[in-house]
């Protein structure tokens, strides 16, 4: 399963990077969203997908049976952060679209004579 997951993660990353490199603002934002999904799955897979029981202390479950809690804690933090960042991007995108009237990244660059 881990090997299949690794390939799927690579695929998610590939799609995310491809979207982020495009010129359209909204594709870039969707790309960052995909990138964080890929990163979460990567963390989970790195820790191993084994474990027969969720990492919650229960009667009659030996310590080695719990799934690895550390990647889960890291992912939980990452999920919330990526939500905040995505919404920040979203607002940044539509505000700049409102102000500048374009979503083409090639046109959204500082002028030559900035100091």
């Amino acid at each position: 399963m881990e090997i299949i997951m690794s390939v799927a993660i690579g695929f998610l990353f590939m799609a995310a990077v491809y979207l982020m490199l495009s010129k359209s603002l909204i594709r870039i934002i969707i790309g960052t969203g995909l990138l964080s999904h890929g990163a979460h799955l990567l963390l989970l897979t790195m820790g191993g997908l084994g474990g027969n029981s969720p990492p919650v202390v229960a009667e009659g479950v030996s310590v080695s049976d719990y799934a690895d809690p550390l990647p889960q804690a890291l992912i939980l933090t990452a999920i919330v952060i990526s939500f905040a960042v995505t919404s920040f991007f979203l607002v940044l995108a539509y505000r700049s679209y409102q102000e500048l009237g374009t979503d083409n990244m090639d046109l959204l660059r500082g002028t030559e004579d900035y100091e």
Partner: protein, 804 residues
């Protein structure tokens, strides 16, 4: 009593200053500030009996125990002397500033916060026994000096001066840090007290000379020695109380303090003696020579400060000779260390009063240009008297304190001709000659300062304001200092016993075991000897040259500005500015895509490179989780919706497909036994989709018509590279584990140690609570950012005035 905390008292008081300024506007904020240095002065003065007896006090506060970094306040004669100068002159300066800075027009809260911050920094420098905290406070003085010079930040000259002082002193500070690190490597300790006994071993170490030079760079930049002095004249843009305090009495003396403090460590070396005494003496001559070129009152004082600092520096260098002489009490070498400290006190006193007078003249006449001033004697009699006392002391005339220390300076310089080590026997004769020349120019500029301002013809038409005497409050501090100048002349040996000798003991601890053994008796009259004739020569030649000043002062203008040190600084700044700009423009294209391409390519190169170099490619098929039916179904959904995003032409489809990806990930979390994650991901995904739909209204349509095939192909190659890299990383990370995971510890101790059952949540709030704390801080920042972007509505037109 743990007096180490007293260092932070001013900083603590600074917290309340803005509040007092805003709420108690009727009373000048300075009155509240004044309390701090007065309390500190009284407390520290009560420690005097300890140091007079040759004792010392230590108080410690652990800061970062794991790195062996602590605040260690060490009070001996030297640090107590500086501490008293900082708090005493500080109190007078604050008092003076109350009348100098208008409470309605000035931003007093800024001013006093910076000033108090400086006070803490300075106390920290002179009391720290720990090299790293000493460096910390050292840089803090640079920063507070930067802020104070730039206090009137709307003026170009202020900002220029602030930046220049910052550049030069921070450069020196960083060099000094290097020196400190080398010292700590050699001596295996950060404590100066522990380094001193190791001095003989240190001197044989390879790093010794490097440490010496680096530390001296720090001291020379701070104390405005040649060729680094150029920041000090430009620092005169600061309000005059600041010039009086930082740029004459205290901060610029931090370099002297450092040299004095580390003399026991380095003095064995001939390089030290030559560098300190040589650079100091040359600076003394250079500063006094160019002081006469200045037209600005504070400019004259700045150059005079440079010169006087050089004088003290050279004396400290000369005091190193004591380490190579047997039976120092019988020789004239004993005078150098004493003279250095004694002159340091005198200089702080008379230069403080002179700066305050320059401020008064500026305040009451509206100009500091000496060409427009003159004849103020009858209009400002008290200021004139104070200025005369200060200047005469600086010139070395009796009956003022400066006369005594100037005599001892000459004695010390003469003694160097008898020194027979380090080829001093050949070159030593230069020292008294240069010292004598410097003293002549000192004499001239002192007279120039007083008589071109107060004597001569009054030119009321050239003054922006009609001149009159300053208010009484403003005069208190300079008059007090002027009185001290005279008092010191009459009781030099009390000053010597109380302040100077304990400090000398800190500079030359190997030579004396108690302050009483410093066998120096100060007297105004010591017979017809070489020093007396030199002094008479200074008066005669100086007087004559001052008389004819108007004839030869113009020749200063022949020095071209384009080859000066200032021009060198300007060119260096300009070159590094344009050079850096040109270099960064090479790769800073302004296209976000370029930056992403850099980042992703580097990720691929570095990660693949590391994997390749460490032969970390691994492919382990044992210990795999079984492949189930549900997993495959979810995987297909995941890949399908990702593909939908890639090829969709409508933004709505893309957003919904993104939601589908999120839900598939949540299902994966369910399958891989991560209930917390699954819950969170489900809720977040729902809210995210709602959010996207809310913002939908404002968002542009997806357009791809501008993207050419080659562009897309290039992107695809990079994307594929990143994808493959990540797959390899995931595989090799899963396949090899070198270290046991800390998870085992969490699993085992979650109930017994942390009293919880849900391991993930306990990790979040307990084991790794720091992460969570920062995470919610990031959340808060993102929220504030969004409010700012939407609610503040900075449109293009409004946004532009900021930088214009």
């Amino acid at each position: 009593m743990s007096f180490v905390f007293l260092i932070f008292l001013p900083l603590l008081a600074a917290l309340f200053i803005p509040l007092l300024f805003k709420k108690v506007g009727k009373i000048h904020t300075g009155w509240f500030v004044l309390i701090v240095p007065v309390i500190l002065f009284i407390y520290y003065a009560s420690l005097l009996p300890t140091t007079i007896a040759g004792g010392n006090l230590v108080s410690e506060f652990q800061w970062i125990p794991s790195l062996d970094i602590a605040f260690v306040a060490y009070i001996d004669g030297l640090s107590l002397l500086f501490t008293l100068l900082i708090t005493g002159i500080g109190a007078l300066v604050v008092l003076y500033s109350i009348f100098y800075l208008d409470k309605h027009r000035e931003q007093l809260h800024n001013f006093y916060v910076y000033l108090l911050m400086f006070m803490t920094a300075m106390l920290g420098i002179v009391q720290s026994d720990h090299l790293i905290t000493l460096y910390l406070f050292w840089e803090l003085t640079s920063i507070s000096s930067f802020l104070l010079i730039g206090y009137w930040y709307t003026r170009d000259r202020s900002r220029f001066g602030a930046l220049k002082s910052m550049m030069i002193t921070v450069f020196g500070g960083l060099m000094m840090l290097g020196g400190f690190v080398l010292l700590s490597i050699m001596g295996n300790t950060y404590s100066i007290r522990e380094l001193i006994p190791q001095a003989p071993q240190l001197a044989t170490h390879d790093f010794f000379i490097w440490a010496l030079v680096l530390v001296l760079l720090g001291a020379f930049t701070k104390s405005a020695q040649f060729p680094f002095y150029i920041w000090l004249p430009d620092a005169m843009e600061a309000p005059t109380p600041v010039s009086a305090y930082l740029h004459s009495a205290t901060m610029v003396k931090a370099g002297l303090y450092l040299v004095a403090r580390l003399t026991p460590v380095f003095a064995i070396s001939g390089t030290w003696m030559w560098l300190v005494a040589g650079v100091g003496l040359f600076t003394m001559f250079w500063g006094s020579f160019f002081a006469l070129k200045q037209k600005d009152l504070k400019g004259i004082l700045a150059f005079s400060t440079v010169s006087q600092l050089g004088l003290i520096m050279s004396l400290l260098g000369a005091s190193a000779a004591g380490y190579h002489i047997d039976n120092i009490a019988e020789t004239t070498f004993k005078y150098a260390g004493f003279a250095a400290i004694f002159h340091l006190i005198n200089h702080a006193v008379f230069k403080g009063s002179l700066f305050m007078i320059a401020g008064i003249i500026d305040h009451e006449t509206g100009t500091r240009d000496i060409r427009k001033l003159g004849g103020l004697m009858s209009l400002m009699p008290i200021s004139f008297t104070v200025a005369m006392i200060g200047a005469f002391s600086m010139a070395g005339l009796p009956p003022f304190g400066g006369f005594l220390s100037k005599e001892m300076f000459l004695t010390a310089m003469l003694s160097l001709t008898e020194f027979d080590l380090f080829s001093m026997d050949v070159w030593g004769v230069l020292f008294p000659i240069v010292a004598w020349l410097g003293s002549v120019f000192t004499f001239i500029y002192s007279f120039y300062f007083v008589f071109h301002t107060f004597a001569g013809e009054h030119k009321p038409d050239q003054l922006p304001k009609p001149a009159h005497e300053a208010p009484i409050g403003m005069l208190i501090s300079p008059v007090f200092l002027a009185l001290l100048v005279i008092v010191i002349f009459f009781i030099p040996n009390i000053v010597g016993d109380w302040l100077v000798k304990p400090a000398v003991m800190a500079i030359q601890p190997f030579l004396y075991s108690s302050p009483g053994e410093v066998d120096v008796h100060v007297s105004a009259w010591h017979g017809f000897n070489t020093e007396l004739f030199m002094t008479l020569g200074i008066f005669a030649v100086g007087g004559l040259m001052f008389w004819t000043l108007h004839k030869w002062q113009r020749s200063y203008d022949r020095f071209p500005d384009s080859v000066s040190l200032n021009a060198l600084y300007d060119n260096l700044m300009f070159l590094s500015d344009t050079g850096a700009n040109r270099f960064s423009k090479l790769y800073m294209t302004g296209f976000i895509r370029s930056y992403l391409v850099y980042m992703f390519s580097f990720v691929v190169i570095i990660v693949l490179g590391t994997l390749f170099l460490t032969e970390a490619f691994a492919y382990d098929v044992t210990n795999l989780a079984p492949i189930g039916f549900y997993e495959i179904v979810i995987l297909i959904a995941l890949i399908g919706s990702t593909l939908t995003i890639l090829f969709s032409k409508s933004r709505l489809t893309a957003i919904i497909a993104l939601g589908a990806v999120g839900y598939s990930v949540a299902l994966f979390f369910v399958i891989f036994r991560a209930p917390d994650l699954a819950l969170t991901q489900l809720v977040i995904e729902t809210i995210s989709v709602a959010l996207f739909l809310l913002a939908f209204y404002h968002l542009p349509q997806i357009s791809r018509k501008e993207e050419r095939m080659r562009f897309r192909l290039g992107n695809a190659v990079i994307a594929l590279g990143v994808g493959v890299t990540m797959t390899l990383v995931a595989l090799s990370a899963h396949s090899q584990k070198f270290l046991p995971s800390i998870s085992e510890f969490y699993k085992e101790t979650v109930y017994s140690e942390a009293g919880g059952g849900n391991i993930v949540n306990v990790i979040l709030v307990d084991y790794r609570g720091f992460d969570t704390l920062f995470e919610i801080a990031v959340l808060g920042i993102a929220g504030i950012g969004i409010i700012t972007m939407i609610k503040l509505r900075l449109t293009k037109k409004e946004g532009q005035h900021e930088n214009k």
